[in-house]
Amino acid sequence: MTQLSFLTSKPWIWSFAAAMATWVITMLFTGGSSFVGLSQATLTFASFSIIVGLGQMLVITLGPGNIDLSVPSTITLAGTVALKLMDGQSSWLLLGFFAALAIGLAVGLSNYALIKLLRIPPIIATLSMSFIVQSSAIWYNRGLRVKPPKVLADFTTEATFGIPNLALVALALSIFVWWLLEKSVFGRWISAIGQSPFAARMAGIPVDGARLMTYVCCACFASVCGFLLASFSGGAALNMGTEYLLMSIAVVIIGGTAVTGGNSNVPGIWGASLFMFLVVSMLNTYGFGAGVRLILTGLIIITVILAASRPSARAR
């Protein structure tokens, strides 16, 4: 009974359960011999979704309608600019990193400016912004691939004690966000805003300031992801962020964060990110065609959500 209530009180359990199940099923195919390889690959690639997911989660916590669709183009622009600035020189590494962060800052500020000053709903404001950011990336470098500095390329592809460095970075960022949401004043604020912006305002919370910070955070996480992704895959590409539009949203909500706002959870992002990678690997491993693979992915997502849901006491 207590175990059962633990299950239902922790929605992220389900994303982990799903990830575990897919992991086991995938390994069954090879009789377990793919243990190390699969786990490492999963951790590596899930890291990127975790990093963007963390930012997206902060935004989604702000309440209904808050979402950042400029994540993919921010990833692209940050990767492009950082790699071109560094031009393969390890000595320019910090410059590249800060350039990426500056891009995050700029995109976040512009996003919130559109939302606040022009009162455009976030979903449309960030979509419009993403077009502009994408154009900037095209204009800046026209899609030419510049190789990352050797140090950086090595760092992103290597592992420490068998755990990919990228996963360690994602872990550090996750702990930071967990602290932010659970322990810090700022986290209290955005959770309050997510439940009722007006009540938050009347409780003396600097609502606009907090929302601005959140959008900036999200864009910065995206730009860090862009920086790492470009370094990892040997150069920035104009379409390198595309994947992360749906992915960033999916990992947040499959991870058990309420889309109605005010309630977020960091562990769920890990479960969901691992799951999203593993489900594709599993279906690829078993050799399903694209159509069947898509259908199964969708059905599995819905099943996880159904399992994690509790029936409403009374139809709302």
Binding site: G143, T157, L238, N239, T242
Partner: protein, 314 residues
């Protein structure tokens, strides 16, 4: 005389280096032609998202803008037929290339994508007469080019039955997606001798093999500079051998000249083919030298080349 004629390029996607190279080549050749008075305009248009519906609207707008010829790289071979038909009905010459359209009134500069796929297996059969396992990296599901190349590869495997495709993943023609997809199946694959690809994803596959600490198989490359560079490094280090094949982005300039020729009243057959651009072990250094850093191996066409292609097709 086509000096008063206006030509437009309708492009559906600009989000990768191949398309960027295509646009650059177009811009170079078209602005040259405008300057020298061959045509009055050679404008390029790109849609925001890779969508047939948006491109259809774009073509309809071009009709309204009074272009005499529209050169199309189509998002879908069939979904633009409505708009293309309207253009033809309005007396506009439509030339499609790379992503061709099936509407009969349009000209098609096709690449034999099937052959591109088959030739990869053929090359591998030379390298591995005893055959072996292959990994296939595909493009974007539901898109014509993906289907064609894949069909070619499977035809190749039928022709050389010593090969077996043990895994097939969709890399969406993007380096990082390919890398992720390959990394995901790799742990569960038996030994692989070759990777057959569609272009733009070879480097990602190579990275994935390296990350999994598996011996690098023969990966067919797709003419990107970083792929060629990697190939050269491997070649210098351990004598790695492979091939690289893709369609040259400069084919847009061929389409430009074909459109100009049609406008000029020349008799041009509706179906033209361009050879794909393939790079072998011997031509690697040379191609690498002429390829822009971070770009794609390219050939641009002049009017004479176009005339040669046209007369070759008659």
């Amino acid at each position: 005389d086509t000096s008063s004629k206006k030509i437009a390029l309708s492009n559906n996607y600009a989000g990768n280096s191949w398309r960027q190279a295509m646009l650059t080549s177009w811009d170079k050749v078209a602005s040259e032609a405008v300057k020298s008075g061959v045509v009055a305009a050679g404008d390029a248009f790109t849609t925001a998202e890779n969508q047939a519906t948006e491109q259809a609207a774009q073509i309809q707008n071009m009709i309204l803008q009074g272009y005499d010829a529209i050169v199309v790289n189509a998002a879908s071979p069939t979904a633009l037929n409505g708009a293309v038909k309207e253009a033809c009905d309005a007396g506009i010459t439509v030339v499609s290339f790379d992503g061709i359209v099936t509407e009969p009134c349009a000209w098609r500069i096709a690449v034999d994508f099937k052959e591109m796929g088959r030739s990869q297996v053929e090359y591998l059969s030379g390298r591995f007469p005893d055959g072996g396992n292959l990994l296939e990296v595909r493009g974007l599901a539901g898109v014509f080019v993906d289907d064609e190349i894949s069909a070619g590869i499977h035809a190749g495997v039928e022709q050389f039955p010593q090969f077996k495709i043990v895994g097939s993943v969709h890399g969406d023609w993007a380096q990082d997606v390919a890398q992720r997809a390959v990394a995901g199946v790799l742990p569960s694959l038996p030994e692989v001798v070759g990777v057959v690809t569609q272009g733009g994803d070879g480097y990602g596959a190579a990275q994935a093999f390296a990350a999994a600490n598996r011996p690098t198989p023969v990966i067919v490359m797709g003419n990107r500079e970083d792929e060629l560079q990697w190939w050269k490094e491997q070649k210098d280090a351990n004598g790695y051998e492979t091939m690289s094949v893709s369609i040259a982005p400069g084919v847009s300039t061929l389409a430009f000249w074909v459109a100009q020729q049609v406008l000029d009243g020349q008799d041009v057959p509706k179906d033209l083919t361009v050879p794909f651009l393939s790079i072998s072990q011997d031509t690697l250094e040379e191609s690498l030298k002429s390829t822009q850093k971070g770009g794609v191996a390219n050939v641009e066409y002049a009017l004479e080349d176009a005339k040669a292609v046209i007369s070759g097709a008659k």
